[in-house]
């Protein structure tokens, strides 16, 4: 088991290295340097700037320096905002995104699992149909459409909830629903199909045959096994929600990491783009790894290759 995790960990590190490499190569093959602008900078100034940020060194040297700095936790300075570092952006943006994401995860779990269970138990009846209809809508409709419809209905028309900001608890409602819509629908569908599959297994028949109540059959025998596929997809879901959706943060004017990323893309702030990408990827991989460990602990049937 330790060997298996060591292997997974090594894979994760290789993947991370590849991510840094690809990002670095893409960012450095963009024509024009970060200081190219409409205003012509004198050659001396440009040379000084390049020297300051070590941009005149050979590319591989810059790459290893970048990796070295990354290992020390330093993502370099922002090219567009003098005096600000990429670390500042992440330190400012991530807690906001993480808080919104955390609340969204709780909301998604509380809503999706009971929805899926209900749909599976009432398979084929109207409860099932309703849950599946809602889930299909949630999976297919893009989040920005959901967000816009929510804003129009609850903020503009009914005037119940604020359109932007997270100052009050009311401000969280719309972003959480819009952000969690997809994951909620996806998890509910997964929970339903997984529980339906488990309910057809032999051990459920055995449990029923020995006279357990239906409630006990479901909670004690079915649910435990049915939750496993849900837990597998939880890793990427958590990472995706915690790091924040670009669109939701843009619509609701939430100063999270996603907004910083989109801004840095449109302003071509290369170090910030690189830093945030690497941060996102690391977080995602770490989440998937942690969930993998849990997954193996929960389900003893999993064989370690």
């Amino acid at each position: 088991m330790v060997k298996y995790f060591a292997k997974r960990f090594a894979m994760m590190l290789i993947a991370l290295f590849m991510i840094v490499l690809i990002t670095f190569v893409i960012m450095h093959s963009i024509p024009g340097g970060p200081f190219t602008s409409d205003r012509k900078v004198s050659e001396d100034v440009e040379k000084a700037l390049n020297e300051k940020y070590n941009l005149d060194a050979p590319l591989y040297e810059q790459f290893f320096e970048y990796i070295g700095n990354l290992l020390k936790g330093d993502m370099g300075p922002s090219f567009k905002y003098t005096g600000k570092s990429v670390n500042d952006f992440i330190a400012n943006g991530f807690p906001v995104s993480a808080k919104l994401g955390g609340i969204t995860i709780i909301f998604v779990l509380i809503a999706a699992i009971p929805m899926g269970i209900l749909a599976a138990i009432k398979n084929g009846r109207w409860q099932d149909m309703t849950v599946m209809a809602v889930a299909t809508i949630g999976v297919t409709i893009p989040s920005f459409v959901i967000a816009s419809v929510l804003i129009y209905t609850f903020s503009f028309r009914l005037d119940w909830l604020p359109t932007y900001g997270l100052d009050t608890w009311k401000g969280y409602i719309l972003p959480v629903v819009a952000l969690g819509g997809y994951s909620l629908s996806y998890l509910a569908r997964l929970m339903r199909s997984s529980l339906l599959e488990v309910m057809g297994q032999d051990y459920i028949r055995t449990a029923r045959a020995k006279g357990l109540t239906e409630l006990k059959v479901i909670t004690k025998h079915a649910l435990r096994n049915a939750l496993i596929p849900v837990i597998t997809v939880l890793g990427p879901t958590v990472a995706g929600l915690m790091t924040g959706s670009f669109v939701i943060e843009k619509i609701f004017a939430i100063p999270g990491l996603g907004v910083h990323f989109v801004n840095s893309v449109s302003q071509r702030d290369y170090t910030t783009i690189m830093g945030v990408t690497v941060f996102y990827a690391t977080f995602l991989l770490a989440m998937v790894f942690i969930v993998d460990i849990f997954y193996c602990l929960i389900d003893p049937r999993i064989k370690f290759e």
Binding site: M11, M12, I14, A15, M18, I19, I22, T23, I26, M27, S29, I30, T136, V139, T140, I141, P142, F144, V145, S148, V149, I151, Y152, F156, L196, F246, V247, K250, I251, F261, V262, V265, S266, R268, I273, T277, Y280, A281, L284, L285, V288
Partner: protein, 383 residues
């Protein structure tokens, strides 16, 4: 009454009667596919959408990029006032100008301004020789008779000139919707095709050769699939610049991973089958075996993966357009149309809801077809 217990006559002709014509594989798939109403509905919608996107622009007299600032933000259903001569209607635009509307709902010319009466907060316009007054003191603005101050009758009529209204630059939304649908479908189909080709070649080679080549190629796929793909699409867009080509390249270069996995899995099991062994014994080349025997047999799963890929390509395109890193204006895509409309959401919700509805319809249609196709191609998957 005849005796039911007698033996029936047995003839070969009767036996033949229960035979039906052999169905081909495609016929079989179609037979199962058409049993699902949602799948058929999705299929019909996709055909209609393609017709709408390709043939639609031939029937419209507007251009998707020409701005007409005189008719900005006009909704599909207009609130109009009956004109004093009762031959037509009057409509107040958002820039506080009065436009004449014919009885059938087509927009006419702007009324000429006669004078301002700043003291009473009214402007007098000339409507076919009669004076009408526009009260702009408070919203909603009113049109009334300047003498008697009686507000003209209010009616809601359909906009016949711009069936779906105009956007904030006075462009016809219906026309832009046609071009936007065209762009979205184009991006989706081309990206799906590119992914299919890359995925088939990559997965086919990995699965067929097996061994160390397979494990190296699949490790690469594993690594790529851990990378958050949306981020990479955005990075590639930064590298290549915004535009249609960049979106297609970005989507095409990133999303082939699933396809490669599917093809590899199919190839692995198919290459052990007797017909492949037979092809090997008669000396067919690897290329022929892959092309003639393995890929055609894996086509079912490939098709299902492609139909599932198309909606996600449309989704990413809309997402990029919405973030403002997709197409460049004045080109229209469904995502950029939504993005343009967000600023006006409060006053002109139709500008956002129309393209958003189009996106939803496309997504639903492709998802339904994908589901139907999966069930039809692989009946074993069904419970």
């Amino acid at each position: 009454m005849e005796n039911k217990w007698d033996l029936l006559e047995s003839s070969n002709e009767d036996r033949e009667k229960i035979w039906t014509k052999n169905r081909t594989f495609a016929g079989d798939v179609w037979f199962r596919f058409r049993k699902k109403p949602t799948a058929i509905a999705g299929f019909v919608i996709i055909v209609l959408l393609i017709a709408f996107a390709l043939a639609g622009p031939l029937f419209t007299s507007y251009n998707y990029s020409v701005q007409n600032l005189e008719v900005v933000n006009i909704p599909p259903i207009m609130k109009v006032y009956e004109s004093p001569d009762e031959k037509g209607y009057l409509y107040i635009t958002q820039s506080i100008k009065v436009v004449y509307v014919e009885k059938d709902g087509t927009l006419g010319s702007q009324l000429k301004k006669v004078r301002d009466v700043a003291k009473e907060n009214i402007t007098i316009y000339d409507c076919n020789g009669q004076e009408v007054a526009l009260y702009y003191e408070q919203k909603p603005y009113l049109l009334a008779d300047p003498e008697s101050k009686i507000v003209y009758n209010i009616k809601h009529i359909w906009n016949k000139s711009f069936i779906l209204g105009t956007d904030s630059l006075g462009r016809d939304i219906l026309t832009r919707l046609m071009y936007g649908t065209r762009v979205s479908l184009l991006v989706a189909f081309v990206a799906a095709l590119v992914n299919m080709v890359i995925g088939i070649i990559y997965g086919g080679i990995a699965g067929y050769l097996g061994g160390i080549v397979d494990s190296v190629m699949m490790r690469i796929v594993d690594i790529i699939s851990t990378i958050p793909l949306t981020l990479y699409v955005i990075l590639i867009m930064v590298l290549l610049g915004t535009g249609l080509k960049s979106i297609i390249v970005a989507l095409g270069s990133v999303y082939w991973v699933d396809m490669a996995r599917v093809v590899r899995g199919q190839t692995l099991s198919l290459k052990e089958q007797e017909f492949v062994v037979a092809a090997k014994t008669i000396g067919s080349s690897t290329r022929t075996i892959l092309k003639q025997h393995i890929i055609p047999n894996a086509m079912g799963s490939i098709l299902v993966t492609v139909t599932m890929l198309i909606p996600s390509a449309i989704f990413i395109e809309a997402f990029l357009g919405y973030l403002g890193i997709g197409l460049q204006p004045p080109l229209a895509s469904l995502g950029t149309m939504c993005n343009d409309a967000t600023e006006n959401l409060r006053s002109c919700p139709f500008q956002l809801f129309i393209p958003a509805l189009a996106i939803c319809i496309i997504m639903f249609a492709f998802n339904f077809v994908g589901d139907g196709l999966r069930d039809a191609l692989d009946p074993k998957l069904k419970k």
